[in-house]
Point group: C2
Chain length 213, copies 2
């Protein structure tokens, strides 16, 4: 079913290029304050004018990306967040990655409290590379997100995920992980909007989320 | 060399999901003003809280996306711009697209004057889907951008393009078009930064661009 062998039983390097955009004159302080507050010790990290790249074990990359969005969203300012997750790129180096981290996630409960209480509107797209069954794997991912209750609708070229930051990141991490167990090179893009002027502010209440404040 | 037949001689629908982020308290006025100023008559367009989707002929999609970035960049405010271009997605509908447009590009010279004079720092990534030679096609695209003088370096998971908005969009359009002639389903992501606090303001002069003001 797949063209490339999946490396089983090895911890494969996951990377993510993240762009964070608080739409306020004070954007730079919010970005710097967020990166300061987030514990990035479990990933390798490098920032330039376009994005911040983090690399490490899958669970730490997703936890760190989630913490960045969650903490940036605590300022009641409209924030846009873009992330591209990657695994298994041919020619990827073993360097520029922190793989020795233990499984503990820093500040897990503090981040969870924030991530549970903030609604994010988003879209994601999955790109299983060099994979004849790529459309089947995409439908599997939509099935998983549907079971979670985060998949809300299809749009051109992407699928919407709506829910708390916690719920949406759970769907992102699970669909990415499941897909990377079936095929070797996977890319997933994620585009998100928090405190958008077009959000009502009641989205989590309407969803009946048990975690809404 | 490829798994899927390329539909030759037909004008295929190209789509693009665009997210525009002026990093200022006044972001909403800049976004609305930009979409008002840009002539979007040659594409189908739909906007939600995360992105604006435009669909039509390739040249009109790239021209409209370029105009959106160019006009948004005339406010001397830091702007981030994210775009995902797509062609040939299996199951794409023939609807939600404007394909009858003639080849003329509205406001071409006005947009060009702006696009020639503003530096953009960016990264792009190409995803030829279900394509065993996808890495070869990616290297071909980097070769094209190198000939143009916009390719500056590789980073994890993406390649940097640096230059004027006009130069960078020329590279984006040509690499996307060339790749879509070789394989059927192509996705290209583009993440860009204009007037970044980390830009010196002299980038085009340093490049010795003939178009710098
Ligand atoms: Ca920190």
């Amino acid at each position: 079913m797949t063209n490339q062998p999946v490396v089983c039983g090895t911890s494969r390097i996951v990377g993510c290029n993240i762009s964070l955009h608080p739409m306020t004159d004070n954007f730079l302080n919010i970005i710097l304050g967020t990166l300061e507050k987030v514990d990035t010790s479990r990933v390798w990290m490098k920032t330039d004018d376009v994005s911040t790249c983090i690399r490490g074990k899958a669970h730490h990359v997703f936890a760190t990306a989630k913490a960045i969005l969650a903490y940036a969203s605590t300022h009641e300012v409209h924030v846009a967040f873009h992330a591209t997750f990657s695994i298994g790129c041919p020619g990827d180096t073993a360097g520029d990655a922190y793989m020795e981290a233990d499984d503990s996630v820093p500040n897990k409960e503090q981040v969870r409290e924030v991530a549970d209480s903030i609604y994010v509107g988003s879209q994601f797209a999955l790109y299983p590379m060099n994979e004849p069954n790529y459309m089947g794997l995409i439908y599997d991912a939509i099935g998983t997100a549907t079971k979670h209750g985060t998949y809300s609708q299809s749009k051109h070229y992407a699928s919407r995920l709506d829910g708390s930051i916690e719920e949406v990141f759970h769907s992102l991490e699970q669909t990415f992980t499941e897909t990377s167990e079936k095929t070797s090179h996977v890319v997933m893009t994620f585009h998100a909007s928090v405190h958008s002027p077009s959000h009502s502010g009641n989205e989590l209440e309407i969803r009946g989320s048990a975690h809404v404040k």
